[in-house]
Symmetry: C2
Subunit: 351 residues, 2 copies
Amino acid sequence: MLGETGIGNLWHAFSKHSLDGQKDSLMRIDGLQYANWSEKIFRQMRKGNLDAVHVTIAYHENFRETVLNFERWNRWFETCPDLIMKGQSAADIDTARATGRTAIFFGLQNPSPIEDDIGLVEILHTLGARFMQLTYNNQSLLATGCYEDEDTGLTRMGKQVVREMNRVGLVVDMSHSADRSTIEAAELSDRPIAITHANPHAWHPARRNKSDAVLRAVTENGGMLGFSLYPHHLKDKSNCTLVSFCEMIARAADLYGPDHLGIGSDLCQDQPDSVVEWMRVGRWTKEIDYGEGSASEAGFPAMPDWFQDSRDFGNIETGLRATGLGDSEVAGIMGGNWFRFFAQNFKPRPM
Amino acid sequence: MLGETGIGNLWHAFSKHSLDGQKDSLMRIDGLQYANWSEKIFRQMRKGNLDAVHVTIAYHENFRETVLNFERWNRWFETCPDLIMKGQSAADIDTARATGRTAIFFGLQNPSPIEDDIGLVEILHTLGARFMQLTYNNQSLLATGCYEDEDTGLTRMGKQVVREMNRVGLVVDMSHSADRSTIEAAELSDRPIAITHANPHAWHPARRNKSDAVLRAVTENGGMLGFSLYPHHLKDKSNCTLVSFCEMIARAADLYGPDHLGIGSDLCQDQPDSVVEWMRVGRWTKEIDYGEGSASEAGFPAMPDWFQDSRDFGNIETGLRATGLGDSEVAGIMGGNWFRFFAQNFKPRPM
């Protein structure tokens, strides 16, 4: 004995089920992960309905070492063809969605893979790299990292490399860069740049989180901010609440526009502490550097209980809806904005 | 006062002019060149109406050195976009023809760029390599070269690498390999292989020219032979006549079928003798090796007067017609057969 209201509720329940369980759900894209990759993790990406993930393929590796990492990924694509596929353009995300897979896009967190050779920018793009950070915490050949005392902005080589990255379609990522360098990159680059994984400094004053001036420079030039779930970037760290995280996003949507925002979880799953140490000290020092941690918190902090891994992406979607953000704004932040950004920025500029 | 015969002659003259001067002419593909590349040489390719050229990008280079050669070519594509374009698939030849350019396809004359790492096969294919010789004169990690005393056929790694080349769409080229190795490769490979630049040993018994058994094994498995114009491969060397060269091709068409034949000029233009020496001795010996030359003929021999460079491709077409080969046979040998072979063998095998 269903009245109109009852039918309405059933319809609502059906739609919701359909949205959560089927691939007519919102597009979901993670703007940064670096896990100890395994079939288990790829299955979690599928359970979380992730259509695309930007994965880190180098921290401090030189070119030759980075090629070994591309090779490792080629083996994953060969052994798990039903779960993942190589992503090179936004159209590959459509293919991934249509075939129930996750498209994997490559990025470099340091310019070390180009060594001192601007010609390697195009070579790495040909191999599949789509993001490159100009610095990773320290001064690089290109710009200044966020842990240096002095920020001298883009170097002579940095300016040349940004132009070359613009030409071939390799996105400038300034997640680990210092403020002046980031603002100069946003202004010098004639294609939009990204901060793939960080949060506003005003919400949680971590050294890696970004000032209002930086976020304005990046977004006003068409760029993107991916919100990080690395506990050191979160207010109250591992105890950060979903409500606090999502309200921070809603506030950023007011300040910088909802079209410039996405998720960049910085998920670093199943990695031993030796890998965290490699990220922090590479080969540049013989001493221990704790990065955003400390001697008493040297290891990788616990993730918030509402975001343990890729399967929890739906919690963020639910949390964003609860803030009062509209359907199209939530759709953009969950993946639509990254999709548009990928579509506009990964191809070589026409000659 | 033109009678029917006069009109017929005019029509014939017009068609001929149109064929020679316009791009409705036969497709022309050169299956191997290694020049000291310059805008001058690219303009000569255009004058010769070459729609595609397979160029050598490594002789003895390791992986890292080969990447520098890809970089050099990226600069040529950037600086001469009206003359050349990167070729990766047969469809790129259609684009090149439609836009009045020559598509450049890359090949490796030695497996040195993959070092001891099978994962580099796919990496080099991604960068654009479409042919790889399993050996260059000497024993390699994969097979035996044509200058060794003993030919042990494909090595353990050689068998694995052929399978991987089949998977990704990197063509096995046995131009500089010994007979048993070549026949084993032709039989083991489940995609056709090529001898991109050599002639039948029966016509001129140079060490690099190929026995009947080798040519049968390659062509019966769907493979291709590209006829070489390197004087050491020619009967009477620099004095070889166009008639002799073209009659040799017509005889090969009878023996091996006209669909398996193309041109692979081995044109090595504007290179200093130091480069010829690099080809011959690389870093594998401290002594001088003269390859197909000798102490008294150490340098690069003079090309035949009817084939000085790419502009002379039309002479071969004229010479082939004069042998009595039919229009479709001539069209195949000038480029149509390479086009079909490229279309079938450069793409990864569907998973």
